[in-house]
Amino acid sequence: MGLHAFFVFDAFTEFFSALTALFVAYYSLKAYKILDDSRMVALNLGFSILGVGMLVHGAIKVRIALAVLSGVPVPPAKRLPLVRLGYTLAFATELAAYALILLATIKKPSSQELEATLVPPLAAPLLEYDFRSEALLAVLALLIAVKAGIGYSQRESRLAGLVSLGFALLAVGHLLLVFGGPLKLIAADVARLLGFACLLWMVVKVSRVGA
């Protein structure tokens, strides 16, 4: 895959994931209005933060890609702060989002618990691609996959299988970033694309219930 094609694919993955996350957030809000359950607030907050974070990260990636592809030599030192800002933002929003989604699947959270979940990610220092942060995100995504998987195995919902598979793929995506390398970067993007496709499929199937 050429550099140009990689940038296009990477940006597409980021924007597709962001829009899917925002679509799930919208459904969570609808669910909150109908079910009147505080877990839906946590789910809505989680997916909203995830979606907005990825949209901004995607925009930063496009900005960097355009600078690289324009052929105008830009010293890496000038690009680095933007790369670090983008990654830090992506990490902080994903950490907050996964923690909120996991919390929603475990218990009905109080407003204090919701606030407490949001504080640590806000305190994240500027980071570069780092195996520890990706490993942490992979563990959280895996825990969400396990919780949904338990729901699936108890035959409470077939759709839980899609959520479980989706988050398992997101965990794989983070794990691939832990090991680094250009091919693994593409594989991580593919895993993330498939993970969000599972979540999108789940929402589409929910919208067809009773139709």
């Binding site: 929603a104 729901g151 919902s157 759709l159 929402v203 929910v206 219930v209 009773g210």
Partner: protein, 95 residues
């Protein structure tokens, strides 16, 4: 009712009442709703008033008996409630 389902939210109770009316063919008397939705007399009166106020059911008279009829909004509520329950279950949540 299992131990896990001991607590029912207000919306769940409304859904249960509407479901009973739907299962009765779209119209049911208060006694049928009371038993079907497992409610006390007090709660039944309170929730019936709320469902009428929200336009989900309407009160009608049949042979001198008071009956409650499901409205189109009530039918829509049942469909949306089922969809959102499936959505919550997809994340492993027990409602």
């Amino acid at each position: 009712m299992t131990a896990k389902q001991r607590y029912r939210s207000k919306m769940r109770i409304c859904y249960d009442m509407l479901r009973v009316i739907q299962e009765e063919g779209g119209e049911a008397g208060p006694t049928r709703i009371l038993y079907g939705a497992n409610l006390s007399d007090d709660r039944l009166k309170r929730y019936l008033a709320e469902l009428i106020e929200r336009g989900l059911i309407e009160e009608v008279e049949r042979d001198g008996k008071r009956m409650y009829r499901l409205t189109d909004s009530g039918r829509m509520f049942i469909v949306h409630f089922r969809k959102m329950t499936e959505f919550a279950k997809a994340f492993g949540m027990v409602l």
